[in-house]
Amino acid sequence: MPIIETYLALTLAKALAEPFCMVIEKIRDMAEEELYGEDKIKQDLLELQMKLEMEEITEEEYMMAEAALMERLEEGRRRGGEE
């Protein structure tokens, strides 16, 4: 019975693919968290501020890096809103 076989084959394929997709999704989430997660951005910002206080970067470099971080924060919030 081709219909049943097809159904079984598809179910099997789905069962095999699902964990793979979950991993992909997880990786995507982690990447997004890494890029747009507020906690991460906050830590990056603190690190940036420490670098400024240690005089490892100039005020100008700090401003540029801070602007980039804020952009990431906004992007993260936008993505969060879309979902």
């Binding site: 830590q43 603190l46 690190e47 420490m50 670098k51 206080e53 240690m54 005089e55």
Partner: protein, 656 residues
């Protein structure tokens, strides 16, 4: 009551009191006098005041090396930074090993911390130096010439604190000992344990000596003036708490019944009043009175001073003719000010945000700071002025004749003048309370796991919270200033600072804290993957920004001014020179020098003799400060206390 320092078994004599009361002179004269009866007795006169004047007093260059004064007297002026370097060279390896075993930091982190300096170093190194000297037993008697009262009390409380620090080191080792016992079955003591034990023994030896009435004596030195009396009264109370023995009190500059000169007569009347107060307040003690001399006591004249001190001869004031037989009295009619523009120029401090008054102890810093704050408040009714004392022996209350203490207190009669006297210990408690959440975060992040580490770490962290850091008063003053600047409630801060040595330590502190913060940030970034201390990081970042702001304000000529105060005497002039160099190195703007306590023109022999001596130093000060506007303030015939007297002083200073 036994005679002055009659106990032949004394091993340690400490002279202490307000700046300018004659501590150094008394210490130097005592050393010379006690060396005479027994040439085999080895005596070391040692100065622990970061602004040393022992060498000036002996008229010999001493510095940070033991220098022979005569056959059996040596002098030493300790340099805490040099001593720290020696200490690090000697014990650095062991300390690093203990830190490596007991903390999570790696060798590189520890090395980084090791390059930093410490606040409150002068007192710590003084105790360590004394401990070393006691251990070596090279001297039969050590005579200490100390910093003005506040910091001397810090010094004397230190052995107890240091025992806690050493205990903390021992706790750091405990984890290592436990692990070794568990793994190897037994623990073998090594150089770290030896070091901790020997340091503890050294500090305990100092503490035992300090409180041993058979071998130690603290000699308060005062003059018949209210602030000086108040300081030794407080000191004696504190000394009782530490069980440090006091038998005699030196009262310097006791005036006779001069009635010929109206100026001397006014001053001696006032002196007599305070002399009575001294006799009442300190009745149980042996009061050793020394006269006001018409000349300075330095070098050879120390012998004369010592003879009166040890009651070997009575002081007879020289007859007028003997003092200065043929001298033309100075012109009458007040002090002429050769630089009248100076008075206009000093008005510029009205526009600043920060005015710091500094100079040797006893030059009149508190009176001038209080008078200036009052003047500024009266003449700028729209600006809120805060007079702020950073000297642990506060005197603002006395100047304003109003209790001030550790809270911002409005000065009665004005609605824009406030005052504050910092209490470092109290503020440390407030600090711990304010940052409870940060402390909790550190506890939670470090102690969240389980196992051996937790037990030890919790104990170490708890112990760490209970110890008092060195340089507490300076650190807390700095923190309070930063807090107040941030809040922006006050437009002008007038700082009544500690005497020059410790004022410098205070002014250097922002740089020092900034270096520590940089090391802290380095660690936080390095271990960011391991431990996230968000609140602590935010706190340190805030601190770092505030420090940067302070450094900006301190170095901005529009915002800050350091006003040098001096008196026309050898030691005043010498200290002024050292202070000026350091202030310039710290890039703190300074445009004015105040010469205080100038004897006004009279035709009295005593005044003329003093005045002539002063003129020489006035010229020296003028030559030393070519870029400074100089303000000349006469010695007033009465004390400066209360708003009326302060207004009078301000009037002279600002030219009204």
């Amino acid at each position: 009551m036994s005679a002055f320092l009659a106990n032949p078994n004394l091993k340690l004599i400490i002279f202490g009191g307000k700046g300018g009361s004659g501590k150094t002179t008394s210490a130097a004269a005592t050393a010379l006098h006690l060396s005479k009866p027994d040439p085999k007795k080895r005596i070391l006169a040692m100065s622990t005041d970061p602004a040393h004047s022992l060498g000036d007093s002996f008229n010999i260059t001493i510095d940070n090396k033991i220098t022979a004064i005569n056959e059996n007297v040596w002098g030493l002026e300790i340099d805490s930074n040099e001593l720290l370097e020696e200490y690090k060279a000697r014990h650095g390896g062991v300390i690093k090993k203990i830190a490596d075993r007991g903390t999570y930091f790696d060798k590189e982190d520890i090395e980084d911390f090791f390059t930093q300096s410490l606040p409150g170093l002068d007192e710590v190194m003084a105790i360590i130096r004394i401990a070393d000297l006691l251990k070596a037993r090279e001297y039969d008697l050590i005579i200490l010439d100390t910093a003005p009262t506040g910091h001397t009390m810090v010094l004397l409380s230190l052995p107890e604190q240091m025992e806690k620090w050493i205990h903390l080191m021992d706790m750091l080792m405990e984890k290592h000992r436990f692990v070794m016992k568990t793994m190897v079955g037994r623990y073998r003591r090594d150089e770290c344990d030896e070091f901790i034990d020997s340091q503890m023994e050294d500090v305990r030896r100092v503490r035992r000596l300090l409180t041993d009435a058979t071998t130690t004596e603290f000699v308060p030195v005062t003059i018949p003036e209210p602030m000086s009396i108040f300081e030794i009264q407080k000191a004696i109370e504190t000394l009782k708490g530490y069980n440090i023995p006091v038998n005699s009190i030196i009262v310097n500059r006791v005036t006779g019944r001069e009635r010929e000169c109206p100026f001397c007569s006014a001053r001696s009347e006032q002196g007599e009043r305070y002399m009575q107060e001294i006799e009442q307040k300190f009745a149980p003690y042996n009061l050793v009175k020394l006269p006001l001399f018409p000349h300075q006591i330095r070098g050879e004249s120390l012998t004369e001073y010592a003879q009166i001190l040890f009651e070997e001869r009575k002081y007879t004031p020289p007859a007028r003719a003997e003092v200065l037989p043929q001298v033309t009295p100075l012109a009458k009619g007040g002090l002429s000010d050769p630089r009248s523009e100076s008075r206009t120029s000093i008005l510029n401090i009205l526009k600043k945000e920060f005015v710091i008054f500094g100079g040797k102890g006893g030059v009149g810093k508190t009176s001038i700071a209080a008078a200036s704050a009052l003047y500024l408040a009266q003449h700028k009714p729209d600006r809120k002025v805060l007079a702020f004392s950073t000297d642990p022996a506060h005197a603002l209350s006395d100047s304003f004749e109003q209790h001030i203490g550790n809270h911002i207190t409005p000065i009665s009669g004005l609605d824009n003048l406030y005052a504050l006297e910092i209490d470092g210990t109290q503020m440390l408690e407030d600090f711990k309370q304010d940052y409870r959440d940060v402390i909790d975060e550190i506890f939670e992040k470090f102690l969240g796991g389980s196992g051996v580490d937790v037990r030890f770490d919790r104990e170490i962290l708890q112990e760490l919270l209970s110890v008092t850091p060195p340089g507490l008063d300076e650190l807390m003053s700095l923190r309070k200033i930063m807090e107040l600047m941030k809040e922006g409630d006050y437009d002008l801060f007038v700082l009544d600072s500690a005497a020059s040595g410790h004022l410098l330590r205070f002014l250097e502190l922002p740089h020092l804290v900034r270096d520590w913060l940089k090391s802290g940030f380095k660690l936080l970034t390095k271990y960011r993957g391991v431990v996230k201390l968000t609140k602590a990081t935010e706190l340190l970042l805030d601190l770092s920004r505030d420090i940067r702001r302070i450094l900006e304000v301190f170095s901005n000529p529009q915002g800050t001014e350091f006003v040098m105060i001096t008196i026309p005497e050898e030691m005043g002039v010498a200290e002024m020179g050292d202070l000026a160099v350091s202030v310039a190195n710290l890039k703190i703007p300074s445009f004015h020098t105040i010469i205080n306590m100038i004897i006004p023109p009279t035709d009295c022999g005593f005044c003329v003799a003093k005045s002539k001596e002063q003129q020489r130093y006035i010229q020296e000060i003028e030559a030393k400060s070519p870029d400074h506007a100089i303000i000349y303030i006469p010695l007033l015939p009465h004390e400066i206390r209360g708003l009326e007297n302060l207004s009078e002083l301000a009037g002279i200073m600002f030219g009204e």
